[in-house]
Symmetry: C2
Subunit: 335 residues, 2 copies
DNA sequence: TTGTATGCGTTATCAT
DNA sequence: ATGATAACGCATACAA
């Protein structure tokens, strides 16, 4: 085993208390003592044991980040930003994947393996509102939501304005001359906030332009991967859309490939726009128009909120709207 | 605070020892006792405190996964597989990013914040061999390398055969009729195993085909992102290659975009092949030929090795070669 | 089969 | 400014 406080104390001929003071740079330590202790620490290669410290203080210095799938580009980018933002304030991050498994998601939050290992949880899930309330009841652990949900007032929460983001995307398609605008990503279950809000933005944009919403042009998709976008687009092309609004960039990447495979061109025959702004879209051919979500901002604010709550559980929950920005690129160029 | 063993013991009118036995399903507990204890546990909503347990047992149930950048698709996919493989044997995974910062990488492994928080470390870094040895000296923590290094014999290690993988890629380009084959990704520093091995495979393939290696066709690249592939390709096109072998799929994605921007076609004018098999390449246009690395296999074997070492630190290090497989797709089709 | 008591390494309280 | 010592919650050696 490695050296302990006691070992250092013996070696330096001081009390364990003094060593502890030095280690956690307590203010009132005489220079002579400090030097003696530091020498002993160096000699024994002493490292504080974070587990023991945690047992005593109740703080682990760790946060959990729960995402559906870490290898979805949006989430891996978010994770990167969260890990960086956390590191800046002295926290480390554990990542849990729910694998889009609803039960697993709930169990992760409510089950026993979650207990006390973390100082707080950052949740970026696809849960329903009802489930959120159940969680709130069941856990006293600091919990922040990041991503896209209805604001509730009971949680620290960083989200984008999904209705506006979707509307910006569709307005852009309209402005570039398209009118038969399809959508991929709606979900039958109204309880999921993100798709519902994006659908609302889509419909609002069409209605404002005096275009009737055609349910045939709206393809539901429970999962937001490339293959889902591909398959939905294959179906959709029979309806002869001149543009497709995808609820994620990954859906859009699949949609573009499906359009090419059908012998059509982007943007000449069908324009495509997504949401997320993953780097992949910038290098795609054509480059993918999208709505950029400020993940560093989201990460930073979420960390700020959760740390504030850890330090003082009684603070009022904050609800932050993260900025988004339309990024027109080649895939929606006017023809 | 939540309930402790002692609370449960009092409530059930038994000793703390008995409760502990029940919780960790010790064999010899009478049914009557167990029921009484279980009832008390349920009533108090008792959850074992993993921190206290850890202080006692020395096991945290956590592994650290160290990668350069979690949002690089190859690493996020690897992380996904590692998290899943770890979950299957009861471990959770913390992710640390070194951000390609060499100093940070070393500090993560050797610095004090690493201490005793994990039962083991999975390292997928771009470190040099000399640094690995230093690490070995400095840490007693179970450590497994995954990815691409020279086997050393001192470490548990799962790697692909990089020389063969690179050679398979270049052989494929040769077989499809290309002869001016460029390479992107070599690094000046010979200490880094992955680029060195891939360069060796590239050169071996050319030599076997009786083609002289032209240093002008080899573009070094320290970083393996899309933008790096793009920039390298812009330079490279002046040399009129008819194929480019990229040391990563991300480099290849950037290369393809640069070729299009130069008004050339893939694969007609320039064929492109990468290594990694990220999903992005399957949906790209043209789809990206690549060498697939079996990340689930890598993850599974790495977890197996590290768990074995945690359970018995004296076991001999295992060195596993993970399979790779050439995946010819559109970007290298014969013309 | 169950109870008692000790220690894991730290922080923090109470002295001095 | 520093020393002695009591927790933190659990697992386990030792007793019964």
């Amino acid at each position: 085993m490695s050296a302990t406080l006691r070992d250092v104390a013996e070696k330096a001929g001081v009390s364990i208390r003094t060593v502890s003071n030095v280690v956690s740079d307590y203010a009132h330590v005489s220079t002579r003592m400090r030097e003696r202790v530091l020498a002993a620490i160096a000699e024994l290669d002493y490292r504080p044991n974070p587990i023991a410290r945690t047992l005593r203080t109740g703080r682990t210095g760790m946060l959990a980040l729960v995402v559906p799938e870490i290898d979805v580009p949006y989430f891996s980018q978010l994770a990167r930003d969260v890990i960086d933002a956390a590191a800046e304030v002295g926290y480390r991050v554990m990542i849990d994947q729910t694998g889009n498994d609803h039960e697993r998601e709930k169990e992760l939050l409510l089950g026993e393996n979650r207990t006390m290992l973390f100082d707080g949880i950052l949740f970026s899930p696809l849960v329903t509102r009802a489930e959120l309330l159940e969680m709130k009841r069941a856990t006293t652990m600091p919990l922040a939501l990041l991503g896209e949900h209805d604001f509730d007032g009971r949680f620290d929460h960083v989200a984008i304005d999904n209705v506006a983001a979707a509307r910006d995307a569709v307005d852009h398609l309209l402005a570039s001359g398209r009118s038969r605008i399809a959508a991929i990503g709606a979900q039958p279950d109204e309880e999921f906030a993100t798709p519902r809000q994006r659908t609302a933005g889509y419909e609002a944009a069409l209605e404002a332009a005096g275009i009737e919403v055609d349910p045939e042009l709206m393809r539901p998709s429970a999962h937001y991967g490339r293959i889902d976008g591909y398959e939905a687009t294959v179906e959709l092309l029979r309806m002869r859309p001149d543009a497709i609004f995808c609820y994620s960039d990954l859906l859009a990447m699949g949609a573009m490939r499906a359009i090419f495979d059908a012998g059509l061109r982007v943007p000449e025959d069908v324009a495509v726009i997504g949401i997320d702004d993953i780097e992949e879209g910038r290098f795609a051919r054509p480059s993918l128009s999208t709505v950029s979500l400020d993940t560093p901002f989201i990460a930073r604010e979420a960390i700020r909120a959760i740390v504030a709550r850890i330090d003082d559980p009684s603070v009022a929950p904050t609800q932050i709207v993260a900025p988004h920005r339309l990024l027109p690129r080649e895939s929606t160029a006017a023809v």
